[in-house]
């Protein structure tokens, strides 16, 4: 089978080419979709065009890509609304076309035209496109492609901010628990990017949506699904302990409710989960301004906690040394709290 199928009909100018891409996507209208033969033909045309586009962007091994051409391409696909067409037709496209498309997406998004990222600007003016991409996690066939496109978008703070604050963000709490491991874990990767890529954006979001977010997050931490539990504790320690989130962290560690969640995770049957939970638990304990309730819980459970912590051991090497050190400090603090006279009630 030949791989040079796109060569013969390569149009002359970028403008003409983008026009051809647009026409081929427009051909995927409702009329064609009913007609099997016509749809097949239209899809073939789209696939051919995306292969050509990929070739323009990355070169074909012999010819180096032309930077001016790429920048013109980015400009034209915005001008012609091709981006909207692409996202709306993603679910109809074939496997190969989707892959080429995702490949081009990553590069075109990063392509500066003049002083601006024109494709990013286009998406900023059509934020609903991001919602479409998020919702597509529900469609297994295109979930991974959309995930990749989304993560490219999330690299830009404005787009990440939109998704965080959109109604679709809540869907991620559902997607990360989908039974299909590929899709669920891809959704988790995107979720993680959203919460870790742009510290300031995340801090701002968490400040405003504190209750709503941690309410949902608690469900992940107490999920019956091992992977969800393990990933979400790890992610929590990743973003909560970041400097821009220090205010949120300080608020979080005052909450008895979340402290109890951490206590439960510390007792988990998985050592991996225990170890990660420790790194959040320790912040609750080390907090010099622990609320009385937390002190009472520590005091009541201090024997169990101390013996549990004694049994907990890290791996090897420097990490382990640090862990042991921290463990000692935490144990001492628990002992100290348990001897406080004014906790009797």
């Amino acid at each position: 089978m030949s791989f040079s199928f796109f060569r013969p009909s390569r149009p002359k100018t970028t403008q003409e080419f983008v026009k051809a891409v647009k026409d081929s996507l427009m051909a995927l209208d409702t009329k064609t979709i009913v007609e099997v033969k016509a749809l097949e033909k239209a899809l073939e045309e789209v696939e051919k065009n995306f292969a050509t586009m990929r070739c323009m962007i990355s070169g074909d091994g012999e010819v180096e890509p032309n930077v001016d051409q790429i920048s013109q391409l980015a400009f034209e696909i915005c001008k012609e609304d091709v981006i909207t067409l692409i996202i709306h037709n993603l679910h109809i496209l074939g496997w190969e076309a989707r892959k080429d498309l995702v490949y081009c997406w990553a590069i075109l998004l990063k392509q500066k035209v003049g002083s601006t990222y024109c494709c990013v600007e286009y998406v900023e003016n059509h934020f609903e496109l991001l919602d479409s991409l998020v919702v597509s996690y529900d469609n297994k066939d295109i979930a991974l492609n959309c995930g990749n496109m989304l993560r490219e978008c999330i690299k830009f703070p404005t787009l990440a901010k939109y998704i965080l604050e959109s109604a679709s963000f809540e869907l991620f709490f559902k997607f990360v628990e989908l039974p299909n491991f590929d899709v669920a874990s891809d959704a988790f990767t995107t979720f993680k990017d959203l919460l870790t890529k742009h510290g300031d954006v995340v801090a701002e979001y968490l400040n405003i949506h504190y209750d709503e977010f941690f309410n949902l997050y608690e469900k992940l931490l107490t999920s019956a699904n091992y992977v969800t539990k393990r990933q979400s504790v790890k992610l929590l320690s990743d973003f909560l302990l970041e400097p821009p989130n220090s205010q949120i962290m300080k608020r979080y560690i005052l909450e008895v409710r979340y402290f109890k969640v951490m206590m439960t995770l510390l007792k988990d049957s998985s050592k991996n989960i225990q170890m990660t939970a420790f790194h959040i638990f320790k912040v609750f304990v080390a907090n010099p301004n622990k609320p009385l309730e937390i002190k009472v819980i520590l005091s009541k459970n201090h024997e169990k906690l101390v013996s549990l912590l004694h049994d907990l051991s890290g791996g090897k090497g420097a990490d382990d040394e640090q862990f042991e050190e921290e463990k000692d400090i935490i144990i001492k603090e628990i002992e100290r709290v348990s001897h406080l006279p004014n906790l009797e009630h």
Binding site: E40, E44, G94, T189, R230, S270
Partner: protein, 551 residues
């Protein structure tokens, strides 16, 4: 849809995502953190599948690497690549459901029916199909990094698929004990070296791989070709195998090698185009190795047969993967010098437990001998001084990683330290155990080589004494294995009796093998004496009479 001509339709959603829909039939592979089962998918008319069950809690790192690997795989689609139907979690295990490749890996086929290697037309089919997969992978910007017979799977119809993308690591390996986990952890490490998912890497990044990365796969393909041709990877005396069977059959390969060098008439003949194809893969300069696409056009693949040919010629009379796995497992449990986790490694199929570092060593340390269709070791005293000490270090390192068995380090060490200069001393491998016999071979070879140049008689004597001892060890092991089996009559059931029968056969074979090895040893000793004569004859350096006593 149009693309379906080139690619398999992918409908992962067809397969149910709950454990209850699958009925496990039997175990067909096992490792430290993963088990591979043969299973039936009940709602789909009980179609046969393979399920790799990975214990996620065994891995201390976060799940990112596993996630990345499953995703890499699910974004690939090619008839020659083993894809997963679907994957889902069952408590803290990840189940990866894959097509069941009933004939198992090319390695396991050889181990079971073609110990001396496959017929050349069959090799051509297997390599061509593998190259198809490789060409697709490379076009997509991926490296496989672990091409070997153990990762090339065959189904009942003779269709060939490349496996092991981390998650599907080493499935169907009857011999893959803990080895599989070693290998899969290496491969996940490899993947972790990438920043981001390779497929989505920018073209310029991919381009930089063109120079070297892709060509490393081509090298491995060349090695795999030799493995398919000889029934074992070249120089398989390098990393040892702890499997008793493998150890015995593979030990002292160097003597075969010596035989080959003397143009033994028994040697199999391979076509010129095959040799030429392999030689091009094993070119020391990566840039001179052909791409996968180019290799496919090599004359060796002209008139290449198809899947039915493979099915007709090598799959007949093959025991089922389940049986092969059961037998390998039994052998393993009988292997008495199993020393903890490391000792249990079954890396015979690869000769490659150290993964990339090993490949690297091969690249720097061996030359392909097209004439003899083998890799020739480059001896320490033939390479530059700095180079040789580096190699020596790698031998030492290897010895240390691989075992803590104090074993029989004695004779060789004492013999070697008399007047060895450190650079020419292969005796750097002092921490060898019985398991490390492979390295002894290298040492012996090197010693003979040295002797031919007129020095280091002690080293040679020491090496030979050691060789003799390990032969005796072997005999002892075979004896104890036999007595163990002989006395095991009151074990449970007919099944055991059957296996015993099989094992007795195996042992008979091994005995014969041992005899021939002994013969070879004798010949070597003769040769040694000859050399000694020559040394004293030429009045070379320091002839001493106090060579280590041979018992």
């Amino acid at each position: 849809m149009a693309h379906e001509e080139r690619e398999e339709p992918r409908k992962p959603q067809q397969f149910p995502l709950d454990a209850g829909s699958y009925k496990i039939v039997g175990e067909i592979g096992a490792g430290v953190s993963a088990v591979v089962y043969k299973a039936l998918c009940l709602p789909m008319g009980s179609v046969e599948v393979a399920i790799k069950s990975i214990d996620l809690d065994r891995s201390r790192t976060d799940l990112d690497s596993i996630r990345r690997e499953t995703k890499t795989l699910s974004l690939l689609s090619h008839p020659n690549i083993l894809n997963a139907h679907c994957s889902f979690t069952v408590d803290h295990r990840l189940w990866v459901v894959m097509p069941f490749m009933s004939a198992g890996s090319a390695h396991s086929i050889m181990a079971s029916s073609f110990p001396e290697g496959l017929p050349e037309p069959c090799i051509a089919v297997i390599l061509r199909e593998t190259l198809n997969a490789l060409s697709y992978l490379h076009n997509q910007g991926h490296l496989h990094r672990d091409i070997k017979a153990g990762n090339i799977l065959v189904d009942a119809g003779g269709a060939v698929k490349l496996a092991d993308f981390g998650v599907s690591a080493l499935i169907y390996e009857p011999g893959s004990g803990q080895g599989s986990s070693t290998s899969s952890s290496t491969s996940s490490l490899m993947l972790a070296n990438f920043t981001g998912t390779p497929y989505w890497m920018a073209p310029e990044v991919i381009h930089s791989h063109n120079g070297y990365g892709f060509k490393a796969d081509i090298w491995s393909l060349g090695i795999t070709a030799l493995e398919l041709a000889h029934g074992r990877p070249p120089l398989s005396h390098l990393p040892p195998s702890a499997s008793l069977l493998m150890k015995i059959t593979k030990r002292f390969r160097f003597s075969d090698y010596e035989k080959h060098k003397k143009d033994d008439p028994v040697r199999r003949k391979f076509s010129k185009s095959f040799k030429d194809m392999v030689a091009s893969c094993l070119c020391q300069d990566p840039s001179k190795r052909p791409t996968a696409e180019k290799l496919l056009k090599h004359s060796f693949f002209k008139n290449c047969k198809g899947a039915e040919f493979l099915a007709r010629h090598i799959l007949k009379g093959l025991p089922s993967v389940e049986d092969r796995h059961r037998q390998a497992k039994l052998l393993r449990s009988l292997s008495m010098n199993k020393s903890g986790e490391d000792g249990g490694e079954e890396d015979a199929e690869s000769g490659d437990p150290e993964g990339q570092s090993d490949k690297h060593r091969r690249i720097s340390g061996w030359n392909f001998n097209e004439e003899g269709f083998e890799l020739d070791p480059v001896f320490p005293n033939e390479v530059a001084l700095g180079d040789s000490s580096a190699r020596q270090a790698s031998f030492e390192g290897e010895g240390m990683d691989r075992d803590n068995v104090a074993g029989s380090k004695g004779p060789f060490e004492s013999a070697s330290c008399t007047d060895q200069s450190s650079t020419s001393s292969p005796a750097g491998a002092t921490n060898e155990s019985e398991d490390e016999c492979s390295d002894h071979q290298g040492s012996v070879l090197a010693a003979i080589h040295n002797a031919a140049r007129g020095f280091d008689k002690e080293v040679m004597m020491g090496s030979l004494a050691l060789l003799k001892r390990s032969l005796e060890d072997e005999l002892q092991k075979v004896n104890s294995l036999m007595s163990l089996l002989g006395g095991g009559g009151d074990q449970r059931g007919v099944e055991i009796a059957n296996r015993e029968e099989q094992l007795v056969q195996v042992i008979d074979k091994l005995k014969a093998k041992l005899e021939s090895e002994k013969k070879k040893n004798f010949e070597l000793e003769r040769e040694l004496e000859c050399l000694q004569h020559r040394i004293s004859g030429t009045g070379g350096e320091t002839v001493t009479d106090d060579a280590p006593v041979r018992d």
